[in-house]
């Protein structure tokens, strides 16, 4: 048995490598080997040459163009968001009744819970930010491309295997069970000790997948730092670098310090699981060591996820308030301050673990302090809108929704930062409510603001306005119903991460499910709208679709869009290859 298995694997692997070799030979034939040089040296070909990119599917597999890679990240994040969203809809369905009547098994619930968290944070959150950053940062700072275009492509292509590994437990593979460790992967459960199922290879695969996604994020971060430092156009100085690039730069710095640490901790955990080391065993380093390492990564991670969305808000919101961002400098400073402080608060996730009370107090102090720069930003957004000429377009609605939800998410966080309050609320639904106000109500809302705002830029078409507004209102109301119900559940003492609960919590859980259903409907509308509008939406008729010139708030990426429109109007070369990328499509017949 063993031998035939190995033999089969060898044959498969050999065949696969041969296939790769054949593919490479074909692609190489098409290429004329005009080398790109280290940082992308100019070749001086006309922009219309067909030689630059192969056609069809192969183009997407071989592209190193930052815009293509941005779109790939976007598509990937969307798929992950749908998967994570469907998982949580199953969980919310389960939670409509106190017993496990719907899914039938708490084990399955725990698997969904784990996968939902990891999918949303690592496969949706980080990639959707990379999508915006890849597409826009080079355009905004006037760079030709990313500093290392091929590393950029590697960073993206690591993600699909990462997703397959993370979801492996759900595939019908023999003896591979999904992880049930929750996204925090606390030892000793995650180390696979005890009588449960968590010694299973499904957990190893999940850890490997997570490790890969970390490698990907780190490569991306190095690339953004290099790009923003070295590839700026001459007229873009540090003093007038835009706010979005500032947040990407800060985020990349955080990634650079946080993700390698997660990677190392994951490797230690894998060694504990498979090779008998005792890093996190009670007789070795101890389970608390895992918590320290995990949260030293984990808290910066939440800011890794929130800073660029804050950048999107700071970038987009002023366009529809008819004024420049209020206190630009202070928004930048507060970004940097958050970046630094975020490494000094990790133990606020461990207040109830019995760590030294003096340590606890200092972490409480820094956690309260980090609320200050966050509040600075909030006040700056509000003062930007104050007395402005506000246009309630869909992106603006999502921006305002962001600010509103961020206020609730932030304030609930400040309460958690206070030790006595946290000892009561820790591991209740209050915490779940707190961070979902931020990850859903703020981060995802900013993503949507960005998607609607740059939709014309990327596709050359308009989305359907009324559908977009329906999406916003369903989400705004749905988010607040779902997650406020969770805050209340937490006050009532409902612990988090359970498939079952006492009957007294039923009503609020049903309310939360109702809100989640609104989010679900809104999400379907969003997907439909983006998809259909990309294919057949009304064409954008001007290089300044948001009429930013009128208020003198134009930005570089729209200049690029304008030039691109004009040159393609002048030189209609009727590109014949049909792409899935409507951005090209829109110019074909213009």
């Amino acid at each position: 048995m063993e031998i035939t298995g190995q033999l089969l694997l060898t044959v498969l692997m050999g065949a696969f490598l041969l296939g790769v070799a054949a593919f490479l030979a074909r692609v190489e034939e098409w290429r004329s080997y005009t080398p790109l040089g280290a940082g992308g040296g100019a070749v001086g070909e006309s922009g219309y040459g067909h030689a630059e990119k192969p056609a069809g599917l192969i183009r997407w597999f071989t592209t190193v163009d930052h815009k293509d890679i941005g779109l790939l990240y976007g598509a990937y994040a969307t798929i992950a968001f749908v998967v994570g969203g469907l998982m949580v809809m199953l969980m919310r369905a389960e939670l409509t009744t106190p017993a496990t009547d719907v899914l039938g098994s708490a084990t399955f619930y725990n698997s969904l819970l784990t996968s939902h968290g990891i999918t949303m944070l690592f496969l949706f959150g980080t990639p959707i930010i990379a999508a915006f950053a890849n597409y826009l940062v080079p355009l905004i700072i006037g760079a030709d491309d990313m500093a290392f275009p091929r590393i950029n492509a590697i960073a993206f292509w690591l993600l699909p295997p990462a997703a397959l590994l993370i979801w492996a437990g759900f595939f019908p593979l023999p003896d591979v069970l999904p992880a049930q460790t929750a996204w925090t992967m606390y030892a000793p459960l995650s180390a696979g000790v005890g009588n449960g199922t968590q010694a299973n290879v499904g957990v190893d695969l999940m850890l490997l997948g997570l490790h890969l996604s970390g490698v990907s994020a780190t490569m991306g971060a190095i690339n953004f730092i290099a790009t923003i430092f070295t590839e700026r156009a001459e007229e873009v100085s540090w003093a007038n670098l835009d706010i979005f690039s500032w947040t990407i730069l800060t985020q990349s710095g955080l990634i650079l310090f946080a993700f390698p640490l997660l990677g190392s901790a994951l490797v230690m955990l894998l060694l504990d699981r498979n090779f008998g080391t005792t890093f996190f065993a009670v007789e070795g380093g101890g389970p608390i060591l895992w918590q320290h390492l995990f949260w030293f990564f984990g808290h910066p991670e939440v800011y890794i996820l929130v800073l660029p969305p804050m950048g999107i808000i700071s970038y987009v919101l002023p366009r529809f308030a008819g004024r420049k961002l209020f206190g630009f400098k202070f928004v930048v400073y507060s970004t940097l301050a958050i970046g630094v402080l975020s490494f000094g608060v990790w133990a606020h996730h461990m207040f109830s673990t019995g760590i030294d009370p003096r340590l606890r107090a200092s972490f409480m102090a820094v956690s309260l302090a980090i609320a200050i720069p966050s509040a600075v930003k909030t006040f700056n957004w509000i003062t930007t809108m104050w007395n402005g000429k506000i246009r309630l377009t869909t992106p603006m609605l999502f921006c305002i929704g962001f600010v509103s939800n961020f206020v609730i998410g932030g304030v609930t966080g400040v309460f958690l930062a206070s030790i006595p309050v946290d000892l009561v609320l820790h591991d209740t639904y209050y915490v779940v409510g707190h961070f979902h106000y931020i990850v859903m109500g703020a981060i995802t809302f900013a993503g949507m603001a960005g998607i609607y705002y740059w939709f014309p830029l990327v596709t050359g078409r308009w989305y359907q306005r009324s559908l977009a507004k329906a999406h916003f209102w369903l989400w705004m109301i749905g988010t607040n119903i779902t997650f406020f119900a969770m805050v209340l559940l937490g006050y009532g003492g409902m612990p988090r991460r359970y498939a079952t609960y006492l009957p007294q919590f039923a009503t609020l859980h049903q309310v939360a499910t109702l809100g989640a259903f609104m989010l679900f409907v809104g999400g379907i509308i969003w997907i439909y709208n983006v998809f259909v509008s990309w294919m057949e939406g009304a064409r954008v008729e001007s290089g300044d679709p948001w009429r930013l010139e009128a208020t003198n708030l134009n930005t570089a990426e729209w200049d690029w869009f304008d030039t691109k429109r004009e040159t393609s109007l002048a030189a209609t070369d009727g590109g014949e290859d049909v792409q899935t990328d409507g951005g090209q499509e829109s110019q074909r017949d213009s």
Binding site: Q6, L9, M13, G14, F16, L17, F23, L24, E28, P35, L36, G37, A38, G41, A42, V43, E45, S46, G47, Y48, G49, E52, K53, P54, T63, V64, D65, H66, K67, D68, L139, A143, D145, R150, A153, I154, F156, W157, L158, P161, L165, D204, L208, G209, H211, L212, L270, N274, F275, G276, W560, T563, K564, T567, S568, A571, D573, G575, D577, Q584
Partner: protein, 125 residues
Amino acid sequence: MDENPGLSEEYRMASPWPLFVALGLPIAEVGILFGLVPLAVGGLVLFCGAIAGILREAEYAASGWRALAALSLVIAGGGLALLYADGATESDLVVRAYSMVGAGVLMFVGGVGGELFARDAEPAI
């Protein structure tokens, strides 16, 4: 293609290698972690081969074959380190060590062979 002049349009914007770097790494990781020899060897060959391809393409290395041979030494070295570690721990690292050494030897032979035989196919500069 109806790409347009703008910023990045004037550069060659395709490379076949990144995809395979990204495929090789997880295959090799899974192979080494679980001691599955074919995956470990195949994954390492794919991973290092694609890296060598990139180094050649970006002109960091004059010859992809030589780059591959250099990488093979790193992998074989890693395998030897595992072999050494095997003596120091209770867990069984031998299969993993030998698959790394084996992959290293394979790539070394491939690299040297390629350098000797495939080089003249390219224009002599």
